[in-house]
Amino acid sequence: MKTYSVMIVGVGGQGTLLASRLLGNAVISEGYDVKVSEVHGMSQRGGSVITYVRYGDKVYSPIIEKGEADLILSFELLEAARYLPYLKKGGRLIVNTQQIDPMPVVTGQATYPDGVLDMLRSKADVTAVDALSLAVEAGSAKAVNVVLMGVAAQSLGIGKPVWEQVVADTVPPKFRELNLKAFDLGYAHKA
């Protein structure tokens, strides 16, 4: 298979690393070569974060550049707009409608723009989801990452039992049930 490129973007602390690990483990179980590139350190402190997951028969580069992502999974609305240039023409964008003010907005130097979702819809194949509500429904606001992975999993061509196994194996045992529920809610989400 030709290399498939997924970008997972969000705000430091939202759990993008776990999502990338779930996707990485799911594609290995399908026998693909895979590379996952993570961001650690300074960039994690509430800043804009990016993780790249690339899989296929043979993967060389671990990163994704502008115009190359087949799918962007954005954990926050503004971050979807920020990384839109990375999406391949005609690529797919799954976006959590949650809005988190960046510091320049908090301090009044900038405003959180209106109309982001409409703008995104005019440029890409967009699936919008209120993942925060679904995560709270699953039992914790922190499960936003697993909800979103559930939404993405609908179209990645990997069977649901594989995903459930990967979620169960990857998260700590005491949060297993909560995360499986979060995954289910995302997987059942209708665009």
Binding site: V11, G12, G13, R21, G24, N25, I28, D33, V34, K35, V36, S37, E38, V39, H40, G41, M42, S43, Q44, R45, G46, G47, S48, Y60, S61, P62, I63, E65, K66, G67, E68, L78, E79, A81, R82, L84, P85, Y86, L87, K88, K89, D101, P102, M103, P104, V105, V106, T107, G108, Q109, A110, T111, Y112, P113, G115, V116, M119, K123, A124, A141
Partner: protein, 575 residues
């Protein structure tokens, strides 16, 4: 055995362990930290966090002389700290093998400069391996010990951020049997004074020639011939970018050892290709070697000296091709990193801002105190520089001593702040140093350090008594404040700046992200009472934003620290 998806750093640790390594000493530093964190999970390996990279490197030298296969790990700037032992360990050589892991950070994801560690290999005359992905991280770590023992030298293992922090498939192998080599007293080998070091230098120069001969036909310097119109000489992750961008439309010389570099191998490759590009991030290290061989190559004439490379960059520079993409029609405000909700540094920086002092800063999460809205930090150079530079500043202009402080984290203070404090006491400057004691090494992701009372495995350990230490070096004025208490903190700073002698303030409150820290219930805004004055926004808390002209607090993020409550004149913030 099964293939696992390992981080480059985890794969290095796996390789070290598979080679029978039993001693590791490191100081945390992004992007190198996870190597040693992973080693700490192996029960049959002794691992530790050392106070700094010099100590770690020297400990690893000692372990290698004792006959163990040893390791020390650090980020690129850490190698500056370890450079002193590095240059002479090159002369002594080893007994058991020794690997020094160093992780460069092109693009400065989490660093204060973009230095290229390959110059250290050349400077110290120590061979340097550079893997391109997780599988090679494991392989090169193992190979490193064989080379170290064969050539009687420490070996540098260089990573870059994208290799250290990228996951790839690694097939795990069994651990090799390695027994401690016998130590034999040998002053001519291990005592480096002029009479013994002079002949050793001869040995080192011969060793480089032997290593060049090895480099000419070793497996890790690999040639891949496809179309020979374009030839690419490269190493590390740049190989992946080139391979992705150019595919079989180019031929490749992938160098697994970046110092010393082969000569015949490079000449032969260049002779078979029409146009040769050297693709390497940061400095023209391989390119200059090619030029010294008299070869005509493209390198930094077409590629940048700055930042990370990518397949897109290679495609654009060599093929002149760019992939089209859409952009946002809406301006997107930036999202810089911030101090977390409940971060104990916030209260301290706000108090410093109120006091209008110049702040000599240091390396850690608290460097973020330089950003709006706190904007409290004036300088940041390197680990420990806050303390020593404050002293220099105050001696040069004593009139400013009552308006200047240094801030330094607990781990950074142990790393290289203590010697600066000794200088302040010994040479008597009226300097005020503030240790931000959050009981952990925060920036790199929560590592224990000599002040926390725990070792790398989380077991009880001796903790430095900071107050006693300050007294012992000759600082008479030492006090502790809680940075969640703005008035107490501000008063302490004000009083210590007013006295004409050295003082140390310990701003003590554990990092809000530590698992054992119990948070008070989240606060909320009483919308009836809130006048929308934005006073609470001045502390730059990511949990607070404005909605419809009034403040609001995100209950999912608020850590209940109560600093914002002290900002509100209208009693509008309630628990």
């Amino acid at each position: 055995m099964a293939k696992k998806l390992l981080l480059g750093n985890e794969a290095v640790a796996r390789g070290l362990w598979e080679a029978g390594m039993t001693f590791a000493s490191s100081y945390p530093g992004t992007p190198s930290t996870e190597i040693t964190e992973t080693l700490a999970k192996y029960d049959d390996v002794y691992s530790e966090w050392a106070p700094n990279e010099k100590v770690a490197c020297e400990a690893a030298i000692g372990a290698a002389i004792a006959g163990a296969r040893s390791f020390c790990g650090m980020k690129h700037v850490g190698l500056n700290v370890a450079a002193d032992p590095l240059f002479t360990a090159s002369y002594t050589g080893v007994n058991g093998g020794m690997i020094i892991g160093v992780a460069d950070d092109p693009g400065m994801h989490s660093s204060q400069n973009e230095q290229d560690s390959r110059h250290y290999a050349k400077g110290a005359k120590i061979m340097m391996l550079e893997p391109a992905d997780a599988a090679e991280c494991r392989d090169f770590a193992k190979l490193g010990y064989a080379l170290s023992e064969r050539f009687d030298t420490p070996v540098l293992l260089r990573l870059t951020t994208r290799v250290a922090h990228s996951r790839g498939l690694v097939e795990e192998q069994e651990k090799e049997a390695y027994t401690l080599k016998a130590y034999q007293k040998d002053a001519k080998k291990y005592v480096m004074m002029p009479a013994y070091a002079i002949p050793k230098h001869v040995t080192v120069e011969q060793r480089i020639l032997d290593q060049i001969a090895w480099a000419e036909d070793c497996e890790i310097n690999r040639v891949e011939y496809h179309d020979t119109k374009i030839g690419v000489i490269t190493a590390g992750n740049c190989y992946n970018y080139a391979r992705e961008a150019l595919g079989d439309g180019a031929s490749y010389l992938k160098l697994g050892m970046v110092y010393p570099l082969p000569e015949k191998l490079i000449r032969d490759f260049a002779a078979k290709c029409d146009t040769v590009y050297v693709i390497e991030e940061l400095d023209p290290f391989i390119e200059e070697h090619c030029r010294r061989l008299g070869l005509s190559v493209h390198g930094k004439d077409v590629f940048t000296l700055q930042g990370e490379y990518s397949q897109a960059l290679v495609r654009k520079v060599i093929l002149g091709e760019e992939i089209p993409f859409d952009t946002s029609d809406i301006p997107v405000p930036g999202r810089p990193p911030v101090l977390c909700s409940g971060c104990p540094h916030r209260g301290l920086f706000y108090a410093l801002k109120q006091e209008k002092v110049a702040v000599s800063g240091d390396i850690g999460c608290y460097t973020l105190g330089a950003l709006p809205p706190l904007e409290s930090v004036d300088t940041c150079v390197c680990m420990g520089a806050s303390v020593s530079a404050l002293h220099g500043r105050n001696k040069a202009d004593p009139s400013q001593a009552s308006k200047s402080v240094a801030v330094i984290g607990d781990s950074t203070f142990c790393h290289s702040g203590i010697t600066g404090l000794v200088n302040i006491a010994y040479n008597n400057s009226a300097s005020t140093v503030i240790v931000l004691d959050n009981s952990i090494t925060g920036m790199t992701g929560h590592q224990e350090n000599p002040t926390t009372g725990k070792n790398i495995k989380g077991e009880p350990a001796t903790a430095i008594d900071l107050e006693a230490l300050a007294h012992a070096v000759g600082i008479r004025r030492v006090r502790v404040v809680d940075p969640y208490n703005l008035k107490q903190t501000r008063d302490a700073i004000h009083e210590e700046l007013a006295v004409d002698e050295p003082s140390l303030i310990i701003s003590r409150r554990p990092c809000a992200l530590l698992k054992y820290v119990k948070h008070a219930p989240a606060y909320h805004i009483d919308r009836e009472k809130c006048r929308g004055c934005k006073s609470c926004m001045r502390i730059g808390c990511p949990s607070i934003s404005m909605k419809d002209g009034k403040a609001q607090i995100d209950f999912t993020q608020c850590a209940g620290c109560g600093v914002c409550v002290q900002m509100c004149a209208f009693d509008a913030i309630r628990q």
